[in-house]
């Protein structure tokens, strides 16, 4: 499991959030950061594919080092 932070443009409403059930969505200014743990690369690419499918603008992706 790895911790990730994924930034997208805009705020996610209820509908959009439900597309990422394993991640927490927090507004940051005009954008949103999705944070959470993902087990592997496949899961990460799944999230990215969902972001693309929903037409969200991907801003940044960060792997957070374990504390």
């Amino acid at each position: 499991m790895r911790q990730y932070e994924i930034w997208v443009r805009g705020h996610l409403g209820e509908m959009m959030r439900s597309a990422f059930p394993t991640l927490r969505a927090q507004p940051r200014g005009d954008d949103t950061v999705l944070t959470g743990a993902l087990p592997d690369q496949a899961a990460l690419h799944g999230v990215l594919a969902e972001i693309e499918a929903l037409g969200l603008e991907l801003l940044e992706l960060r792997r957070v080092p374990p504390r």
Partner: protein, 889 residues
Amino acid sequence: MRPAVISELEVRRAAGPGAGGVVSRPELRERLGSGRVTVLSASAGSGKTVLLRSWIAETGLADYAAWVTVSHGERDPQQFWLAVLDALRRTVPGSELVGALTAAPDLDGWAIVERLLKDLAPLDEPLWLVIDDLHELGSDQALRQLELLLMRAPDELRFVLATRRDVRLGLHRLRLEGELAEIRADDLRFSLAEARQMLAAAGVELAEPALALLYERTEGWAAGLRLAALSLAGHPDPERFAAEFSGTERTVSEYLLAEVLERQSEQVRRLLLRTSVLEQVNGELADLLAGGSGGERLLHDLEEANAFVVPTDAERSWFRYHRLFVDLLRLQLRRTASGEVTELHERAATWFARHGFPVEAVRQAQAARDWGLAARLLADHWPGLYLDGQAATVHALLAGFPAGVRAADAELAALTAADELARGSLAAAERYLGLAEGAAASVPGDRHGQALVLLAVIRLLVARQRGNPSAVAEEARRLQAVAEAPDATRPGLSQELRALALVSLGITEFWAARPEGPQHLEQGGALARRIGRPYLEFSGLAYGAIGAMPESLSRAAERSGQAIELAQSHGWTEEMPVGYAYAARAAVLALQGRPDEAEGWAQRAERSIKAEAEPAAELAVRYIRGLVELSRGRFADALTAFQAAERLAGRLAAPHLLVPSAWAHLVYSLVRLGDTERAEQVLAGLSEHDRDRGEAGVATAVLWLARSDPRAVTIALAPVLDGSAPVVRRSWLVEAFVLEAIARDALSDPGAAARALERALDLAAPDDILAPFLLNPAPGLLERQARGRTAHATLITRILDLLAGNSPTPPFAGPRPPVEPLSDSEIRVLRYLPTYLSAPEIAAELSVSTSTVKTHLRNLYGKLGVHSRAEAVERARAVSLLAPSAQRR
């Protein structure tokens, strides 16, 4: 995947600027027509598809543009190319040039591309291939094949590719050469003026400041503007809407979709949400899932309102939702009515199953987690899917079951075994077969018989792959027993399984030279014709053609003719089974003493053989080549061919019915070349089994004839003539009687000679087997026969005419396919030779090392008999291994 068709509505829509909400964008249209390749690369909802459709409609290109929309999650190269060919054939130039292709198991995408290049070489007017949603093409193979097509296609074939993300297609090369036009997100963004136009066309009146707010918030994003237009049309307070919208931070799509949904009637909302579980929807399904009626009307209305609903067939009975739209709808559905989702999937599964959409039915059943239903549906439709070349789809469907379910269900386990086999995992296939056997007992009564047949068919396929002849024979027996059991046949679906079983059985028996082979092929082929399964029918006929040769040349010719016709009308002219039909036809013509006609067919047979083919198949083709050379009197070439056949015979696991024949012909060729010593050695070296056969007897007779010992000839022929030494084919008997006549004549027994000759003519007449008379010329005897009492005066005249004009014909003038067949990998490299890619670049395309490519090149040059790349291309084109070069370049 159905190719999307430009409906009349689109054409009407695009008639005027902004008509029906579609804004005319002339500068972008210009760019679409400019380069040989145009790529539109921008994320969902940017307006790519709308732009393309209006471009086609406005420039009147509908008859010259082939449109393919790649289905969501398409992983099968065959499906993709079938859709491309289908779409091309609907265009004016394409309908004349592009040949038909029907789905079949295991079609090779690379071969399809090569054939398409060949078909399109004469293209002399612009033809567009539009591929929408290219990012959905989940097959790297298909992408590489598309790339090859891009590189080698004639100039007049223009490509327009729409995708959501950049795809690796070697476009940078095209960019460098100025052949690429790109339209990206920034280009597709609407300008303020265009936004104004769009809203106006949707009947929305908005003051400038409000419009500016709207425009700023959407940033000119097409989907956003369209959703806004939908919400604004008829809105009581558009200014306030714009203000609220611009004030929210929620993403544009989510906000606006919620707005749009809210403004719809309850009925429409219900319909949209509940049908979002489907990839495609029609009126009936809409009514079924949403409850109620009038679904079709609603869908049409939504489509006319330009509300992200798109028809997928020309009759506008099937629709799909814009990808972005449907994803959001599904999320909304799950949020608001999650308890009903399973039932929606169930209802859809049943509808699809009943209306002949097995793949969708299985997917929906899986989505409902109704594994039992999904498994039954998949097992019932597997033979049809397999025959339609949907192996990759089946693989994806199997993956949709939990592993535990797959292992515990007998039919699913059997299908998984077949899938593993197709992917080359023999061990895994056998493991799953074991699981299937174990679970077989728990299959309920009414399915039991069918499950056993399915299991037996797959066991047979696995055994054949293993190559163990006794195991294969055992499995074939089991299959026969099970297939003929009374409960094995249920009307309808299992007919396909039965036909598949019969043809598989027949083919196995054919290889093992078992007598039941032709009968099962016949039965399987007839059943296949009745249920409309041309590929099975074609396979049965092709193998049946060779299988019929021992009995009757005319039946062999008939079968081969039918097989070739089927192959031609379905575009299967490169598929392996057709090689047998070609070989049979060549053999018949050779035996009838028509070598020039036989040559073309022999070449086609040789071309269709790949190095990876079963040695038995290659043996048959070499043998036929030998026959053709014999019939032209070219004994040295015949010898080479038969020697090659004999070498292959050494690699066979089971005795091949042509082997004794091949030895005999080999001896014959040696004798005719004057090497009687070697001929004698070969005869002495034959196995006891082969020596006891009639073919060896005839060969011995020929040897003695060359040594001028007619008494020895008659002794050698005796067992052949009285039938105690069997022969594989009637033509051998004809030859035996001809030789007997010659010998008797030499022994001053004209009566016996005449009787023998008449017997020969009797046997030869029905099938026109003239070769034995031409190979053992006896014009004096024949003339005497004609003057005496014979029933075959006409036949004799024909033979005499042929003999008169017959001298060893010169070697065939044109280029011939390589004597040693090319392997799959070599052919793949060959196809890249006409492009400008270097060896390392070709290696990158094929995902192999550069040294591997260089090895293939060396072998290629050797087999083609050339020394350079350019020569290789030229030679390959001359023998039709590569498509001819296009008009220009």
